[in-house]
């Protein structure tokens, strides 16, 4: 690990620079006072690294994997050789993908990356990169066990990345055009999902390899149902029921027991079963149902009976489609265009920033994370940041639920679209590709 050289607090730098130079729209008049300040920063700068190492890894292409490959890789009997193959895939993929994102960040304007939240993420990513790139070739299962410990530690440490990124983007919204910020967030989040998918998948496979019958929560899972993180038999109706019930309960807690909560009616091909990463599905459908419930309650105020939310499950040869229809009053046309943006939001940005700090277990210390409640643990009993997002209280409006949901929906080649009837309600259409023949959409922008 590189030793950190103490440098002036970024807030101090900001104060200093703000009062000493102006940035015009063309990007930068600098006064003499600041030239001195910059020189001071440069001397104590830890961010300038020897470029060749990062350059080597940036030059390697990421090797995307599809859901199908994930399933088949782990499904046909795990042995030493396969586990070690998997470990070495992860060993090289993680630093490769991290390197690409670090390079992305390095190319953003200086003023953006020195934002305290974004620079926190930058440093986190860089040290993870350094850590993983120096792992030697894995030859034995003992090597793998050590490697897995390292992965687990990194996953825990990086749980706070999403709110940090979001806060950073919010604070920087005047420094960069909104669509550039959106593109950056999109790429970063997509890549993050990808790293966590392959990392968590490998951890799960290792667990299965080490102790095939280890499931420690009350749900009835058969051993063959999971291939790592991929649940082969996501029962659409059951997921919706579970996630919907939880969302309704949260709404009751938030609005008080007297407040009516809309019913969730499920129709369509009720037997639909398909393989997917369960936590992703729970997050996406949870988000949609929360939005519908909130909108319905807000729109109909004090009425005794609220119009129900209709969820359609539709099973096509290559897709599974979820349609969530509510009567929550719809989304006004002028808000629709910014619906999917991270950088823009209709909610007051200060309130959003305050809310981020309150999201349970997201900005917290390691201590808090270890003490999380049972419902925040997935089937393997471990905590994931996705679960804390999925089960956060409804009055915590982060303003980025929909854009983040879309990143997850599109991750395996699916899509999420909305249509509103102003004054009536909203329909959300979630398309999921079955068996995910599509490779992860890592580089959609660059194709």
């Amino acid at each position: 690990m590189l030793t950190k050289i103490k440098r002036p607090a970024s807030s101090a730098i900001r104060r200093f620079t703000n009062s000493n130079y102006t940035i015009n729209n063309n990007g930068g008049k600098v006064t003499r006072g600041v030239q001195t300040a910059l020189a001071t920063r440069y001397q104590s700068n830890t961010r300038w690294r020897s470029s060749t190492v990062l350059d080597d890894w940036v030059a390697k292409p990421a090797r995307p994997i599809s859901l199908r490959q994930l399933i088949f890789f782990g499904g046909r009997g795990l042995d030493d050789k396969r586990i070690i193959n998997s470990a070495n895939y992860v060993r090289t993929e993680l630093p490769t993908r991290l390197a690409h994102r670090i390079r992305d960040m390095q190319k953003l304007p200086y003023v953006v990356v020195t934002n305290k939240h974004l620079s926190y993420v930058y440093d986190l990513y860089y040290s993870a990169f350094d850590s993983f790139r120096s792992v030697p070739h894995i030859k034995t299962t003992e090597d793998n066990d050590r490697f897995c410990t390292k992965i687990k530690a990194a996953l825990k440490e990086h749980l706070t990345v999403i709110p940090r990124l979001a806060m950073g983007v919010l604070e920087c919204r005047n420094l960069l055009p909104a669509d550039e910020l959106d593109k950056f967030m999109h790429a970063l989040l997509r890549s993050r999902i990808s790293r966590r998918v392959i990392a968590e998948q490998h951890l799960a496979l290792t667990d299965t390899f080490n102790s095939p019958f280890h499931f420690n929560d009350g749900r009835n899972y058969q051993p063959g149902d999971f291939v790592g993180e991929v649940f082969l038999k996501c029962k659409a109706q059951e997921v919706i029921r579970r996630v919907g019930a939880y969302a309704q309960e949260l709404a009751r807690k938030a609005h008080g027991p007297d407040c009516p909560v809309p019913e969730i009616i499920i129709e369509g091909h009720l037997d639909t079963t398909f393989p997917y990463i369960l936590s992703h599905l729970e997050y996406i459908t949870g988000e949609l149902l929360r939005n519908s419930i909130e909108a319905t309650i807000e729109h109909h105020g004090s009425k005794r009976e609220l119009p129900p939310i209709h969820v359609l499950i539709c099973h096509a040869p290559k897709h599974v489609i979820f349609r969530v229809s509510d009567q929550g009053g719809g989304i006004p046309a002028d808000e629709t265009k910014d619906l999917w943006s991270f950088a823009k939001s209709k909610r007051s940005d200060d309130k959003r920033l305050r809310n981020f700090a309150k999201v349970p277990k997201m900005a917290g210390t390691l201590q808090e994370l270890q003490e999380g409640p049972p419902e925040l643990r997935d089937h393997e009993g471990s905590l994931s940041s996705l679960h804390t997002l999925t089960y956060r209280p409804p009055d915590l409006k982060l303003g980025m639920g929909l854009p983040l949901t879309r990143v997850y929906a599109e991750y395996w080649g699916g899509s999420l679209e909305q249509t509103s009837m102003e004054g009536y309600g909203t329909d959300m259409f979630l398309h999921i590709e079955k068996l995910g023949n599509r490779l992860e959409q890592l580089n959609v922008d660059r194709l």
Binding site: H269, C314, T419, E422, Y424
Partner: protein, 428 residues
């Protein structure tokens, strides 16, 4: 055999009267097929000596000049700017003069667009017929001097010219469609789609401009009993109260229109398939907003045709659900038509907005024309383009004309949702 629909006359109203929807008369006339303008026996060209071809060549430059003038976009506010009928003679003359000034610009633009198409395409007899129709209409309106629009008698003559123009062009779409099918070897689908899109969208405005003046004229001057089509057919009219301003009904109730379109489409279904799907309206059925019944009726008929056919073919017993909502921020409405007809496959989705002739393969031409002939014979309404796949793109053109929108979402394996949003206009 050429079939002429007097739809335009059906929408023109006298004081407070409106035609019952879909009660038009079909008139069949046997007309000789020539490459000259067809069916203009009643219209007398002012320059008797010059053939249409010679006239157009003589006026080539003038047409170019007219076409390059700015296109005045029609919006609903413009259409109702003279207030509720009956209009004063002054207002009527102002409307006439405005139409006389703007219509030639629109007609010229279409002529220029057509004459710039490849020679081989415009030589096709159907396309050529349409081209000549436009030339003829332009000639007849240009030969009416704008300066003479100073008294009611001249205004009446002008309105008669407009009526004739509207009638001439009532069959443009199927004729053009037929021509383009025959010409599909000579242009790429993209070229033809782009031409048709532009042409049909501008045509909406051109027709509207003429029909609006005709309607205002009739509601400001004529007696109901005297309304006859130029070809002698009469139109039944029904007392309704004066919510109309020309072609706009300021208190249009979509639910009523949906029911009548549904009953019409249901009848066709019953004849063709032996079953009639049910339809349920929810949301806000009492809502009213100012709009053009003709346009909405066309759109609804097309959309319901799609929904009904899909439901029947999927042997679906669940009714089609139409939800109507009043937009709280504007004078507009949104509508959702939800069917359970099995949805649209992902392979077909990208093509739903193209004019379907683009998907014809070799050997299908006869089938397509056969379908065309059958549908023309059996369809009782003005959209004799049934079966040619123009319904969705054209409906969208109508919806978007006054700032609305039409979109489609499908759950393949279950059904389709169609969303129609229309803006109204603030009317006093």
């Amino acid at each position: 055999m050429r079939i002429v629909y007097c739809r335009h006359l059906a929408t023109a109203t006298s004081r407070g009267l409106r035609p019952t929807i879909l009660q038009q008369r079909r008139i069949t006339t046997l007309t000789p097929r020539t490459t000259e303008a067809v069916g203009f026996e009643n219209a007398t060209p002012k320059n008797d000596e010059l053939s249409l071809e010679d006239w157009s060549q003589e006026h080539e430059d003038e047409i170019s000049k007219l076409a390059s003038k700015p296109l005045k976009d029609l919006n609903l506010t413009d259409l109702i700017r003279f207030g509720r009928p009956p209009l004063s003679p002054q207002s009527l003359l102002t409307s006439a003069r405005s139409t006389r000034e703007n219509l030639p610009v629109r007609l010229s633009r279409r002529i220029v667009a057509l004459r710039n198409l490849p020679f081989i395409i415009v030589s096709n007899p159907h396309v050529s017929q349409i081209f000549n129709n436009y030339l003829h209409s332009l000639r007849s309106i240009l030969s009416f001097p704008s300066s003479s629009l100073t008294n009611p008698l001249e205004e009446l003559k002008f309105t008669e010219i407009l009526t004739d123009i509207v009638k001439t062009h009532s069959n443009t779409i199927p004729t053009l469609a037929r021509g383009f099918i025959e010409c599909r070897r000579y242009a790429t689908p993209a070229e033809v789609t782009s031409f048709l899109d532009q042409h049909l969208r501008e045509r909406i405005g051109t027709r509207l401009m003429a029909e609006q003046h005709i309607a205002l004229h009739i509601s400001s001057t004529a007696n109901p009993e005297e309304i006859k089509g130029a070809d002698g057919a009469t139109v039944e009219l029904v007392q309704d109260g004066s919510t109309y301003i020309g072609t706009i009904d300021t208190a249009l109730q979509p639910a009523r229109l949906i029911n009548s379109c549904a009953s019409f489409v249901g009848e066709i279904c019953e004849i063709r398939y032996g079953v009639r799907p049910q339809l349920v309206i929810d949301g806000d059925p009492d809502v009213r907003f100012p709009y053009l019944p003709v346009h909405l009726e066309y759109i609804l008929t097309e959309l319901l045709k799609n929904a009904f056919r899909a439901s029947v073919e999927a042997e679906q017993t669940e009714p089609i659900r139409v939800t109507i909502a009043k937009d709280p921020y504007t004078a507009g409405i949104s509508m959702r038509i939800r069917d359970r007809g099995g949805g649209i496959s992902p392979e077909d989705m990208p093509n739903i907005w193209s004019y379907s002739f683009t998907t014809f393969r070799e050997g299908e031409e006869e089938d397509a024309l056969g379908r065309f002939n059958n549908s023309v014979a059996s369809a009782g309404d003005g959209s004799s383009i049934a079966g040619l796949g123009y319904g969705l793109p054209l409906s969208r053109a109508y919806a978007e004309y006054f700032g609305g929108s039409l979109s489609v979402q499908s759950a393949f394996g279950w059904g389709t949702d169609v969303y129609l949003k229309l803006k109204g206009v603030e009317v006093d």
